[in-house]
């Protein structure tokens, strides 16, 4: 479903990697590993369409990525994507509506509960700790079953054991449904996948 051919990325005039290729189908987990500065985030942002690759091509469902690609993809980057002045609930609702997936209140509350955020649901995001912000950003995954491609940049960072477990469960369920998960990570976290591919980037 997701295919990259001869991909090369450049950042600030430095060639990060060249000749990268992979092909993953439904139910596959793609792990991107590598030391800091090797281009893991750049690769993910290129897959998401934020960055233009220096060369090479990326294909989704055997076609050039078009407008419909963004409808079938979600990207959660380093930054939490939360507005400081809006409450956790408002932020989650905005993220969902932005991607066209408005949900009833019980569902969004349940998603926040999954990540232990029900107590801070009506607090402005500025009062949250790092870990809570991370969890708030990830909560939308519990409500994004119909989005096939998940691109997650360091999703495990700043998470406690319970949240790690929760995320792992969500990812596993998504893969079982035939979804695709691409993630970068330093840590080894168990995610049961029908198929796993690994990309290792050198510094």
């Amino acid at each position: 479903m997701l295919e990259a051919k001869d991909l090369a990325c450049e950042r600030g005039g430095v060639r990060l990697f060249t000749g990268l290729g992979f092909s993953v189908g439904a139910g596959a987990l793609l792990r991107v590993k590598g030391p800091n500065g090797s281009g893991k985030t750049s690769l993910l942002r290129t897959l998401a369409g934020l960055s233009r690759p220096a060369s090479g091509s990326i294909r989704w469902r055997d076609r050039e990525r078009g407008d419909d690609f963004r409808r079938e993809m979600l990207f959660i980057g380093h930054a939490a994507g939360l507005s400081e002045d809006l409450t956790v609930l408002e932020n989650l609702n905005f993220a969902l509506e932005l991607s066209g997936a408005k949900r009833p209140l019980e569902k969004t509350k349940a998603a926040l509960e999954l990540f232990g955020l029900e107590r801070v649901a009506r607090m402005p995001a500025r009062f949250l700790s790092q870990g809570q912000r991370r969890r708030a950003a990830l909560a939308r995954l519990a409500l994004s079953a119909e989005v096939p491609l998940w691109l997650l940049d360091e999703p495990f960072a700043a998470l406690d054991a319970e949240a790690l477990e929760q995320l792992s469960r969500l990812a596993t369920a998504h893969l079982a449904r035939g979804g695709l998960v691409v993630l970068t990570s330093h840590q080894e976290v168990a995610i049961a996948a029908p198929a796993t591919e690994t990309v290792v980037l050198q510094a």
Binding site: G81, L98, S99
Partner: protein, 221 residues
């Protein structure tokens, strides 16, 4: 909900929670225009001759000072990134941002301006033209301003750099806007000025958002 309404609604909600920001723009407008009077003295004829220009320049500066807020906060907290990967047309996102900025800056400035005009002894007919010129002209400030704000995201030099980039581009708005009011003060018809201002509005509504879109993609590359 349409993307436009969603985004404008969010911006307004945030602005309401940061009431200070929106108020600052208006306060700066009043303070800046008063400074000119303090600088040149209270002689009514002199002030009346300067008034249109002063109010317009103060409006330009006030609009410019509030521009970094258009994208900077969203850029810093990762929301801008999400806006670009969302299945929404980028033009719609930019249009929403421009509209929010105008609602929080251009509109208040336009409403307060006649009061400042009175301080500068502008006659009633001129005040009406001042209002109209600002209604047509302030959206231009937001549209070109969006391009400037997007270009300078994450750049060293902040607000001063933005000023250096935008003020030359704002010259036509200033000339036609203030010119319309001065024309009325001289007993002439402001029609030509206002039409030219309208034409510049039309051009800016194409050029500004396009440049802003390109600049946003570049900033998030």
């Amino acid at each position: 909900m349409s993307g436009f309404a969603l985004l404008v609604g969010r911006d307004l909600r945030i602005a309401l929670r940061r009431r200070g920001d929106a108020l600052n723009v208006v306060v700066f407008f009043v303070v800046a225009s008063s400074l000119f009077a303090l600088g040149v003295g209270p002689e009514p004829k002199l002030l009346a001759a300067m008034g249109a220009g002063v109010v317009w320049v103060a409006a330009l500066l006030a609009a410019m000072l509030s521009l970094p807020r258009m994208f900077a906060a969203d850029f810093a907290d990762g929301t801008l990134e999400q806006l670009l990967v969302a299945p929404r047309p980028l033009l719609g996102v930019v249009a929403a941002k421009i509209s929010s900025h105008w609602l929080m800056t251009g509109l208040p400035l336009t409403l307060i301006a006649p009061l400042l005009g009175l301080q500068y002894h502008l006659p009633a007919s001129a005040l009406g033209t001042l209002l109209v010129s600002l209604v047509i002209g302030t959206p231009v400030l937001s549209m070109l301003g969006a391009a400037g704000a997007a270009l300078t995201l994450g750049a060293r030099g902040g607000g001063v750099l933005l000023g250096l980039l935008l003020l030359p581009l704002y010259v036509p708005v200033l000339v036609f806007g203030a010119g319309a009011v001065i024309a009325v003060q001289n007993g002439l018809d402001p029609g030509a000025h206002l039409s030219l201002l309208g034409a510049f509005l039309a051009v800016s509504s194409v050029v500004g958002p396009l440049a802003a879109m390109a600049a946003l993609r570049i900033a998030l590359d």
